[in-house]
């Protein structure tokens, strides 16, 4: 139903800016949902998803730069390349538990960034990659593509979580040793979760390359702008819920845009995000969707008192 509504949006003749915002929201929904598979459902919190995003973006960009084919081929190429990357990252990190996994992913994300900055010959280093011929000027088709990707991701996640895979993921999150005793090959399933998460994030990255037309290591690999924002999107919206990352994406993107345009406070947007993150952890740790009942309680009791 919501999907149908969104399909009509381009006919509403919105400004180019509004379309841009919507496209960003959809893209972040995809990234958030992807992270949610690994983090919210399988319980492995990653602080390095920028690695996947950046790799996806660079896959698309480098295909264009070195092979001179359309960067849209990046999306299918992502499936292969990001799976390989996920296997490598998984091999290094999945043996670690809890916060150490988080740190290791953070470290790997940063290594990717520094590597991208230093590999000038292969990847243009800090100069970045620019696509000269944009596929379309108007935003409409970009919107439909990302909408399609987002809807597809949503359906995929729902299907997976209601199947054997989903049960196994949650079992691993709840008690890894017990899960192992029940015949669940935890290493295998954690890897599957990571690959799914990585590939989807990479696809979002490839889309980003095509949409924005320009990337460099500082745009697609940074810790705070990408990795931590991903975590925030899911935490604000609600980890381990279907709609959580979407809600989170809406809020975060709008917040970011509004704050950036305010005159004085603009530079302090990280502070505000930090404060929001702290407040969320303190009061609504399961996010807006997760703690929904907690949130509407004050409204319900007011109604009761007045009647």
């Amino acid at each position: 139903m919501i999907f149908a509504g969104l399909c009509c949006v381009p006919f509403m003749d919105l400004s180019s800016y509004s379309m841009h915002i919507l496209i960003l929201v959809l893209m972040w929904s995809v990234i958030g949902m992807a992270w949610n598979i690994l983090g919210g459902y399988t319980g492995q919190v990653s602080f390095g998803h920028a690695a996947f995003f950046g790799f996806g973006a660079y896959t698309a960009g480098l295909l264009y730069y070195h092979l001179e084919i359309s960067a849209w081929w990046g999306i299918p190429a992502c499936v292969v390349i990001l799976t390989a990357l996920s296997l490598v990252i998984g091999y290094i990190c999945l043996r670690l538990r809890g916060a150490y996994f988080a740190l290791a992913t953070l470290a790997l994300g940063e290594i990717c960034r520094v590597a991208a900055e230093n590999l000038v010959d292969f990847a243009q280093g800090n100069m970045g990659i620019m696509i000269r011929e944009r596929t379309w000027v108007e935003k409409t088709w970009y919107f439909y593509i990302i909408l399609f990707i987002a809807a597809g991701t949503f359906i995929l996640i729902k299907t997976v979580m209601e199947s054997k895979l989903g049960y196994y993921f949650v079992a691993i999150r709840e008690d890894q040793d017990a899960a192992e005793s029940l015949g669940i090959d935890t290493t295998l399933y954690k890897t599957i979760s990571l690959c799914l998460s990585g590939v989807l994030t990479g696809i979002a990255g490839a889309f980003f390359m095509n949409y924005m037309g320009y990337i460099d290591p500082g745009v697609v690999f940074p810790l705070y702008d990408i990795s931590i924002t991903t975590v925030m999107v899911v935490m604000v919206g609600g980890a381990a819920t279907y709609w959580g990352p979407v809600v989170g994406a809406v809020i975060m993107v709008f917040l970011a845009e509004e704050i950036r345009s305010l005159p004085y406070i603009g530079a302090a947007h990280m502070t505000i995000f930090g404060v929001i993150l702290i407040l969320i952890i303190l009061f609504v740790p399961n996010g807006i969707v997760g703690d929904f009942r907690k949130l509407i309680k004050p409204f319900k009791s007011k109604k009761g008192a007045s009647s």
Binding site: E162, S163, K164, Y167, Y168, V170, A171, E174, D175, D177, A178, A179, E180, S181, L182, G183, I184, D185, T186
Partner: protein
């Protein structure tokens, strides 16, 4: 041929010898009790059989095949299920989902897994609680959930680790019935660790006694009950309630 053979198993943690040269066999269709004072190494033995620990020395055989260093999930697929001493429910999943998750080892279809799970929850008397979040269950029911979960993996052998600890007398009697039925109705062989002497004597065909990581006695319940070495090992410890 024995179902499980534990042969000369030793397990050391740094300088601490948790198990020293322990050997015994578990035969098909029997209920074997494993007892000993606290710290004797019983749970360590389970962890070795189950695959969580690799023995420093010695081997474990399942149906004649060497399974010593395999991972726990492989052993589960081969038919060895276990429950944990400190119960480990998958807390934020419902009772039903807990069992469904373990039933998936033998089937890919969710419908099939649910069918198996519902039947097992009937068997363990948890049918009214299928939609309750498992962290909301009282201890007695959690212990039965552990058993239901283990049974969902359709094992040949089940390792019960202190499944009776903390239960009141009514619950104990119910649980004894369930354990007996596991053998008679389902043909599953049982290796059980227990402190409750009454339970062990009532349920086991044979008993193996550990003390300080070594096997000190083996025999039928009445033999063990009269064995002076065993009695001395328990001196200072009250026999179970």
């Amino acid at each position: 041929m024995s179902l499980i053979e534990v042969k000369n198993v030793s397990k050391q943690f740094g300088g601490l010898a948790a198990l020293t040269d322990v050997s015994f066999v578990l035969n098909k269709d029997e209920i074997l009790g494993l007892i000993g004072p606290n710290g004797a190494g019983k749970t360590t033995m389970f962890n070795v059989i189950n695959g969580f620990y690799h023995p420093t020395k010695g081997d474990v055989f399942l149906n004649g095949k060497r399974v010593t260093n395999l991972r726990p999930h492989v052993l589960c697929k081969l038919g060895v299920a276990r429950t944990f001493q400190v119960v480990r429910p998958l807390q934020r999943m419902s009772t039903l989902d807990n069992v469904v998750a373990s039933a998936f080892i033998r089937t890919k279809s969710k419908a099939e897994a649910e069918k198996v799970s519902l039947e097992l929850l009937q068997f363990t008397g948890l049918y009214e609680d299928i939609n309750v979040l498992s962290k909301g269950l009282p201890l007695g029911k959690r212990k039965r959930l552990e058993i239901a979960r283990a049974l969902a993996t359709k094992p040949e052998i089940i390792l019960l680790d202190e499944a009776f600890a903390g239960l009141n007398p009514t619950e104990i009697n119910e649980q004894i019935e369930i354990v007996k039925k596991i053998r008679t109705e389902r043909g599953i062989t049982i290796l059980i660790i227990e402190h409750h002497m009454k339970v062990i004597m009532a349920v086991s065909d044979r008993i193996v006694v550990l003390n300080y990581g070594e096997k000190i006695a083996e025999g039928t319940p009445s033999e063990i009950g009269h064995n002076p070495v065993v009695i001395e090992a328990y001196l200072g410890e009250e026999h179970g309630a």
